[in-house]
Amino acid sequence: MTAIGQLQELYNERGKRARQLHDSGKKVIGYFCCFVPDEIITAFDMVPYRIQGNQSAPIDQADACIEPMACPFARSCFNLALKGEYDFLDGFVAPHSCDTVERMYHIWRHYKPAPFTHFINVPHMMGPSSDEFYQQELRFFIKELEKWSGKKLDIAKFREAIKLYNQRRKVLRELYDLRKSDPPLVSGIEVTQVLVAGMGMPAAEHVELVRKFIAEAKGRPKPKTQKVPRIFLWGNEIDDTAFVKLIEESGAHVVMDDLCTGSRFFWDDVSETDGPLEGIVDRYLHIHCPRSNMPQAETRKKDLENRYGYIGRFVREWNANGAIFYIVRYCDTCEMEGPDLREYLNEMKLPVLMIEDDYSTSTIGQLRTRVQAFLEMIAQGD
């Protein structure tokens, strides 16, 4: 089977590999969002598992425990847990990434208690004192893992894990480089499948498959240049191909993203510092998530550049000529960030379509007309 075939299988049967590992005696630790360092869990010979929802499955049990005005992604994840689909998790870790996930920690541990549960307080503010506080929180996390596993953290293994995840980041960036050409060598659908598959398997295995896939993609016959819009995608959770497929089937290429299931979770490396935790803290606290508050720069213009300069670079380097925001409803921080980012991108003369959605494939039909109209507008602009 081709590498992309294997990755697609893992994407379609999420949890399969982690379940196998759990059944063979490995400890699998499920976690939410981008703020739980995989490296720490891996250094304990455990398997980190990024918890995902299911956009195609109705949320039919969670309402008895959590309000419908909570983030539908988090509710979907919890719904799957209630149905037993996450019973292979030996541990559950929630970071204080947002109000909903903070509440979800309490709710999840009550209705689906796991042998190990932990909550990591992640500062919203950024600065030296926040770094130190987060480092203390991670030390506390390590101590709790040591207590539970009966093993001390092996610093050599910790350093190895940092190297491993940096390797994975490197190959994923290489994968993203294949999207720079016109047309891109890999589709947005394939990239989504690759990334989501990787969230549920050991990083070393993922690195191998992604490398193979990159080689396969490079060996494909060179596609003809097409004059279709190149889209930059921004938002929070897109762990299903449905929305990306809608864009690409409507006549565009999704070429770059800033999503918590996309570049946001892997883009920057961890510096290999003398004290491994320092590099981890520096990297994880500077993830560009709207839930983190960058200190204000002197003027509005500078402030926007300070907050979104990296997105500006993404747009230029990947030559995007339109941006689509996909905001999962009830995400207050994304809802507030959207208009600011739109202002920044419009300043770059980049048209923006802002979509708020329910984290459900059932709404795709309603979105089709809006996406198509947006793409037509870009095409006419060209």
């Binding site: 909570a70 509440r103 909550f119 409803r329 921080t333 507030m336």
Partner: protein, 436 residues
Amino acid sequence: MTVEEKGQAKTTAVKGTESAGKIRAMVKNIYRGAQEAKAQGKKVAYFMVASQYDEILRAMDVVPIPTENYAGLCAAKRDMDRFLLKAEADGYSQVLCSYTRIGLGFDSLRKDLGDIPEDSPDGGMPKPDMMLGSSSVCDPRFKWYQAAGRYMDVPTHSIDVVMPPVFSDLNEVRDYYIKYQKEQFQGLIAFLERQTGRKMDSDRLWETIRLGDEAWRLWYEIDRMRIAVPSPMPAQDHFNVMVPAYYYCGTKEAVNFFRGLYAEVKDKVDHKVGPIPEEKHRILYGGGLPPWHTLWIFNYFESFGAVFVIENVYRGYDPVEVPSNVKDPVEYLAWRTFLRLTQRHEKAKANSGNPVVERLLDMIKDYRIDGVVFHACRSCRATTIGQVHMKNQLGQFTDIPMMQLVSDMVDLRDYSEAQWKTQISAFIEALSARTA
């Protein structure tokens, strides 16, 4: 739909105490006072209630403008739509915190008009000299002022307010939580010193802390007197008297107000005077921001003999004792924050696992509660998510009736009077069945 079409011209509730009647003037004074201060060249700041930094602002003579309270005021005046719609036209989602939407919509209109929008409630909010956010309570409270930057280029500073998770070993985490909190306050002070051009005076800070603590001690004692039967002060009064506690924290006005309220409530307890002639059911307002657009609903409950005797929102903390060896006022504030936010951690660990459930269980027992009402606000994640779970948890300890009403704190589009009345009717029936 207009107010008249909805047939809901009335928003406020009849209060149980005379002291609560003084609050309207205090609210007016917040906004008019800020306008006057601005005209006199004093520094005025947008700020977030319950950020634990109130006394710092007072000690620096920075005049605070509570933007969330302004949203509640607009709702009570039924003058919120123009601000909500303006924010939504600017791209903010209709499910985003409605306090935030009103604030951003107001700032947007003020920018467009070049002046405070005409006939704004209580004269409106002046353009601030600075904005002070915080991560205390919810996410929008630090994002809001960042977003408001599109309407005004003013200095903005936010701080973290951190609470350890309930299952942590407090002895293990205490030092670094307090250290971080202290550093966050120090960062705020440094920012204020830059903005005001003056240094923080420690003696002055101790004085405002003393005033803040005294007001909150009196407030706590008043709430303990509310254990009495009949209730001397119903919840609709609480939603008024929180104004001096939160928006005048660190001032003599707050202390004086609570001294007067204390005397009045004590007198009512001594003479067994309640808000209605016959108190049949004692209700706990279990959580969720109040429906500022429809506070008269408390009187509607009273028409069935049901009085809200205590509430779990905009609530003060039980008094805490900071170790006497803490001699630095900023460190005192950091300690006080930690102790306030971990008050029921140990109890929760030993029982339900949830500090809020522990507080509710304490209230149910102490206040002889017959039923609990929650208010789910569609646009408030922080005070709404977890209510169903709390109801489930409470159900393991008590069999009293509980109900969740759904609307929003200020957005009337999420409210249905007919639906509420149907639910309330069924709830009263359940309460009556138990009494019978």
